[in-house]
Every structure is written in structure tokens, then in C-alpha cells.
Amino acid sequence: DAGITQSPRHKVTETGTPVTLRCHQTENHRYMYWYRQDPGHGLRLIHYSYGVKDTDKGEVSDGYSVSRSKTEDFLLTLESATSSQTSVYFCAISEDQNTGELFFGEGSRLTVL
């Protein structure tokens, strides 16, 4: 299994509070992604990173920010959580942006009350 660790794996929080999810990899892959998974929607890309301090928005980036200060860590922050952000969040990594497969973490289940 690819060395990807997500933390926390489960979190319950209240509307309006900030939340940070962490993705840590030991594969030294350049590309890292944050997806959210919701019933009926498959996986939707939130943000991705193509190198240290290099990030870009995905299709559902509103309400989320990311940071990547070192190769192995990619942080996803919800500045002020809303109930619509209740979801399962997956981090993925890839060695090759154009052709390669993604390796996924085990997911972080977030519930916003």
C-alpha cells in the first residue's frame, strides 16, 4: 500500500468552526489532491498541489483552502465549516500528473452539526 496517512479519520464539529485535515505521504510524489465524496456525486476535486507551495483550485474549492509547506504534507482547511461540508474527504497522490494513477488515503469522515 502507498504510504498515505490522513488525520483525523473522523471528526464531528459545529457550524462556524475551523477544521484542518492533514494528508501525509512517504512516497515523495510530487502531486497531491484533495477530493470529497458524497452520495450520487462520486469524487469531486477540491484542490490539488503540483509542488511545494504550488496549489490550484479544483471544481468545488469554495470554502476550502490548502497549504503545502513540504513535499510530504498537504493540509486542507475549512475556514468556517458549514453543514454542506459534511462529507468524506480523500487525499490522493500521484507521481505523474498526465498519465499516472492516483493512490488514495483511507479517508476522513467529517460531520458538521
Partner: protein
């Protein structure tokens, strides 16, 4: 927007039978990939087919790609209970940095 769409949404078969699921996508692709997700787990890559390939095999998996119809199919032969999972197609556009996933097909294999 979602690039890939799977059909059917759900499939229930008997152990030993074949399972076929289809995926359609909207724009020209560089490659198309299939992933499996067991309940409560992350996605696992199964197979990748490039835009210039028409068919690919990996063990009991067979993937076809028809770029003229913008569609792909995944066939699992001689299914086992352990094949029970959700299956997702994901397409990468020609000038796109990301994989776009469909909503998935949930396959249940009955013993």
C-alpha cells in the same frame, strides 16, 4: 463538472457470473482509469487504458474503450464475493491536469 458517468448505478449478481459496467465521458481523453472502493475504504487503482488502446486485460478484468462513442466498459469475469465493492471510472482530459470521476457502480456478489 463530472466527466464520467457509470451505468448501471447498482448491480447484483451470483458468484461465478460476469459483471459488466459502463462508463461514458464528455470530452476527449488522454486516458481512462477504473478504481475499486470497498466499503469504508479508499479507492484502489485497477487498470488504466490509454486513448490509443481499445482493450486491456488484467487478471479477471477486461476493459474496453471506444473513443468514437466516448465510452468504456469494465468486465469482471467469474465474480467472487470479494469483488463486492463500488467501481468508478475516471477520465483524464487531453489538456487536463486532473482525473474526473463518475458516481460509481455498486456491485454486490451473492454467494
Amino acid at each position: 463538472s463530472q466527466q464520467g458517468e457509470e451505468d448501471p448505478q447498482a448491480l447484483s449478481i451470483q458468484e461465478g457470473e460476469n459483471a459488466t459496467m459502463n462508463c461514458s465521458y464528455k470530452t476527449s481523453i488522454n486516458n481512462l482509469q477504473w478504481y475499486r472502493q470497498n466499503s469504508g475504504r479508499g479507492l484502489v487503482h485497477l487498470i488504466l487504458i490509454r486513448s490509443n488502446e481499445r482493450e486491456k486485460h488484467s487478471g479477471r478484468l477486461r476493459v474496453t474503450l471506444d473513443t468514437s462513442k466516448k465510452s468504456s466498459s469494465l468486465l469482471i469475469t467469474a465474480s467472487r464475493a470479494a469483488d463486492t465493492a463500488s467501481y468508478f471510472c475516471a477520465s483524464r482530459g487531453v489538456d487536463d491536469y486532473k482525473l474526473s470521476f463518475g458516481a460509481g457502480t455498486t456491485v454486490t456478489v451473492r454467494a
